[in-house]
């Protein structure tokens, strides 16, 4: 399978990437690791006329301690997030979950920023960062802005990023509550999660239970009111809108959400 024709541009800096995006407008797409976008282009589900390759922006690949939070460059690969000693110590949920994305080859290419900006509700890291209350930094032609991850995802593959706006950094607050867990249910290692659950303290987020990653607010409220993990997990499917597809029916996904939230809360409790 071969993508439809496009013009390839390689950006040498974030500024140049934004300038190129402004020049080509809605015909252009940023390409980070390419492990979400290129498969869609090969299937001709996406056919951008211009590709702006961000692969050369090495200065956007970093994991840095900023005191109250850890800052991660948007071009940091899953492999580097997985093996970051700083994240293993301060935000082990994120380091662990990054190691569950796809397979080693995919983690050698795919980036955290690409995964977030692509906004696939079946991807692992959007939900993980939602459970962690991350803040995103985006750069446009008129400067940078911060976006709370709770406002970032608008729908299936849709975010608040304006055309030409570039996600540059992910800021993850160091969690106050230690217990964490990431549960992912899939058929083959390389598949997307049928359902996934990320827990950090009393914050619970769901993978693939709607058009965007979701916070399991009913579970969080039950936990705050003192419910046991099993009782809180019974609320896991409330407020969700899981799809039925070839891998699972909506009812089965709802069942999985309850089971996986229960397992996640129990595991998080054992680590607290």
């Amino acid at each position: 399978m071969i993508p439809s024709s496009f013009t390839y541009k390689r950006a040498g800096s974030a500024e140049e990437a934004c300038d190129l995006a402004a020049e080509y407008g809605e015909d252009a797409k940023f390409l980070a690791g390419g492990h979400s976008l290129l498969p869609l282009m090969k299937l001709r589900l996406a056919a951008p006329e211009v590709i702006i390759d961000l692969g050369g922006l090495r200065d956007l690949s970093y994991v840095t301690d900023r005191g109250s939070h850890v800052a991660i460059g948007a071009l940091t690969r899953h492999h580097d997030v997985e093996h970051s000693a700083l994240l293993a110590r301060e935000v082990p949920l994120l380091a662990h979950a990054a190691g569950q994305v796809g397979d080693p080859q995919i983690r050698h290419r795919g980036t955290i920023g690409g995964s977030i900006a692509h906004a696939d509700p079946a991807s692992d890291l959007p939900a993980v960062l939602l459970a962690l209350d991350a803040t995103l930094v985006a750069r446009g032609t008129d400067g940078s802005r911060e976006i709370g991850i709770g406002e970032f995802f608008q729908g299936l593959f849709e975010t608040v990023l304006e055309p030409g706006e570039l996600l540059t950094e992910i800021r993850v607050p160091k969690p106050a509550a230690a217990g964490w867990s990431f549960q992912k249910f899939n058929q083959r290692a390389i598949d997307w999660a049928i359902v996934g659950v990320a827990v950090q303290g009393g914050q619970v987020a769901l993978v693939n239970m709607g058009g965007t990653p979701l916070r399991a607010t009913a579970v969080e409220a039950a936990l705050a009111a003192g419910a046991s993990p099993a009782d809180a997990a019974a609320h896991a499917a409330e407020g969700t809108s899981a799809a039925s597809d070839i891998r699972a029916s909506r009812e089965y996904r709802e069942h999985l959400a309850r089971v996986l939230v229960s397992r996640a809360l129990t595991e998080a409790g054992s680590r607290a």
């Binding site: 399978m1 071969i2 993508p3 439809s4 024709s5 496009f6 013009t7 390839y8 390689r10 390409l31 390419g34 492990h35 290129l38 498969p39 090969k42 590709i51 390759d53 692969g55 492999h79 796809g102 397979d103 080693p104 080859q105 995919i106 050698h108 290419r109 290692a189 390389i190």
Partner: protein
């Protein structure tokens, strides 16, 4: 567009379509046909090569993205006619049946052992999550990876001993 890659230590410059995938560049431009196109959907790992020393699926990388970088295919592993320890281990452990997945498996294992020279059997199995064998011949592939890890460890030790005595 003009791309400039180092493939198995050899510089290759070519004028290709912007949309050309790395695997097609390797097979059709560099004439290195050991790297197979399997599923063509980033799943099976038959097209695995090393990009700057790390395993990637070359069906999901543009030749343009690899321009200016180093690619190693299975053809580039042997030196002076002597097989790489991973290739040797596949031969000795009968790590292949039909052979279609083999180039990708070998490259994935070379990358795995670079990151983790002494993997456990479980680490080999999870490290090969991105490679499918359509013959389901996984047991001998895992054995080959473990055997190669031992050979490489022995070679490293021998080299160190030699270095210390000279």
């Amino acid at each position: 567009m003009k791309v400039d890659l180092t493939v198995n230590g050899k510089n290759i410059t070519a004028d290709v379509e912007d949309r050309m995938l790395l695997v097609h560049f390797l097979r059709d431009v560099a004439d290195l046909t050991a790297t197979n196109v399997g599923c063509d959907t980033t799943s099976c790992g038959a097209c695995t090569v090393l990009l700057d020393g790390e395993s990637v699926k070359s069906c999901t990388v543009l030749a343009a993205q690899a321009s200016g970088h180093e690619v190693t295919t299975v053809e580039g592993l042997a030196s002076n006619g002597i097989m790489h320890p991973v290739q040797r281990a596949f031969h000795e452990q009968h790590g292949l049946q039909c052979g279609f997945c083999t180039p990708g498996m070998v490259m994935a294992i070379v990358s795995l052992l670079k990151e983790n020279p002494h993997p456990t059997e479980e680490q080999v199995r999870t490290g090969l999550e991105g490679n499918l064998c359509r013959c389901t011949g996984y047991h001998n592939i895992v054995r080959a990876a473990l055997a190669a890890s031992e050979t490489q460890a022995a070679q490293t030790q021998a080299a160190q001993t030699q270095g210390a005595s000279s």
